[in-house]
Symmetry: C2
């Protein structure tokens, strides 16, 4: 049992912090920008909440962050009243935000300058994965710190891997999102074509999903896609945020991402159609428009 | 045990005909444009070979065709010495070629005009699937004829489904190839980016392949992609043939296939790089050029 702080109680962070308390059995203090959500969390799970990231983090062995983007992340860590200013030497900052590899390296440097440690640990598995505590966690950082943090992370994860030095967790998450972009567009074109061709989509998927066209997305999204149901899942706004990070990093490392860049534009069309909160599978709605 | 004819002993047809003989226990007669291959097949499996499709088909209950394209298919069925001219009333023509939905409907009409029947039955699973007799077979045609033919088809298949009237098997196969086009390009961009980012691809895939980015292609192709090994599998030339059929049908039914069309162009680049016989996963080689 460790002293754990969780900063950022969004759709992902709220249940993840809950698993650290209930499944992990840790002594958890939370912080959230809007205090109401922190109060609600404490009412549901026990523990304590604090009014600043620094105050929340001052006694912790492990400080988790799960916020919206690089700027929010800098604000709650190295900003005024950020957690790093208060963390005790030897404590580990574990960041679950999907952010740039750059900010991860920056935070490792800032943490180590204070005698603390850092792991970037973006997750995949969405809201359902967070609620069920079965997320995939892609970590970057030093082996020893990863080994020490892993049993704590396990409270909300099914699969945890160290991908390399700081930033590598973020780079792995980028690969994940790049693969999804092309895959979901291919699936959307396939289902769109199938409907235009008059095929029974359920019967079709039952036959092709076990073969070379098969994927998690086909298995888990074809039914809602066929029904035109998109008001759930991983929001297009968030996917575009992630793809912007991928495309920016690719500009740096020289990778060519022609279809990822195109699909990012397609998601722009979906946003313009009113689909900012729709699931990523809504690329189909754009084709059907 | 039925009298079966198999026309077209290519990389797919050769082992499929073998399964009809050995696993199905049928009385098999084969025909191939180059007779040497038919002689070799008979030396390996027994049975007989004939010198024309008509001669091969004259006593058969089921006549299978598995040739290169629409024109080859017309030639061995309704062309001079084509099998339909010799088939007895009630016999079923089962076409395993990946062809247009149009030619499937045309062949059903031609078969029925002679008192025969027709099933379009393109397969997926590649050379390995054919050799191991575990293909996925997408059928189009009449329910009763499908039910009668299914136990015979089972000799080389793991999954057999009726997708609708004649041509529907071909349309289902098109959906399969459309899904694969986007999926493989996304996977290629992901692995390309991961290599540029300095990630250990094996460690990365071990973590992300169970989640939302996971697919048959990721599972079965990441290792060879990472090694730059493309001299195996489903050839780019054949993929382009299939994508041409998809894009042509989409022109007819109005489906929008922007990424499929783009990936078809990318495969054109791979052909120009000398990759006509490379596996479809060679989209990665194009990005790395």
């Amino acid at each position: 049992m460790a002293k754990v702080t969780f900063i950022g109680l969004g759709v992902m962070g709220y249940p993840m912090a809950g698993h650290l308390k209930v499944k992990g059995g840790h002594d958890v203090t939370v912080y959230n920008r809007t205090t109401e959500k922190a109060e609600k969390w404490v009412a549901q799970f026990g523990g304590r909440f604090a009014l600043t990231p620094a105050d929340a983090a001052k006694d912790a062995d492990y400080v988790f962050t799960c916020v919206g983007n690089d700027d929010d992340l800098r604000s709650v860590t190295i900003g005024a009243d950020g957690c790093l200013s208060a963390m005790k030497p030897g404590a580990v900052l574990i960041d679950n935000t999907t952010a740039s590899a750059e900010v991860a390296r920056e935070l490792e440097t800032a943490a180590e300058a204070r005698g603390c440690h850092f792991i970037d640990a973006p997750v995949s598995g969405g809201q359902a994965g967070a609620e069920n505590g079965v997320l995939t966690v892609m970590c970057g950082g030093k082996q020893e710190i990863f080994e020490r943090s892993r049993p704590v992370i396990d409270a909300y994860a099914r699969m945890v891997g160290l991908m390399g030095p700081a930033g590598s967790g973020q780079l792995a998450k980028m690969v994940n999102q790049i693969c999804i972009a092309g895959l979901v567009q291919g699936l959307a074109e396939g289902i769109h074509f199938g409907k235009k061709a008059g095929l029974d989509i359920e019967a079709l998927i039952a036959v092709i999903s076990k073969g070379a066209a098969g994927s998690w997305q086909m298995e888990n999204r074809h039914k809602t896609m066929n029904e035109g149901k998109f008001d759930f899942g991983f929001a297009v706004d968030w996917m575009r945020k992630d793809l912007a990070i991928c495309l920016s990093e690719a500009r740096r490392n020289g990778a060519k991402l022609p279809v990822t860049a195109l699909v990012d534009q397609f998601y722009g069309d979906v946003q313009a159609m009113g689909g900012k909160r729709w699931d990523t599978s809504s690329l189909l709605a754009r084709l059907e428009k």
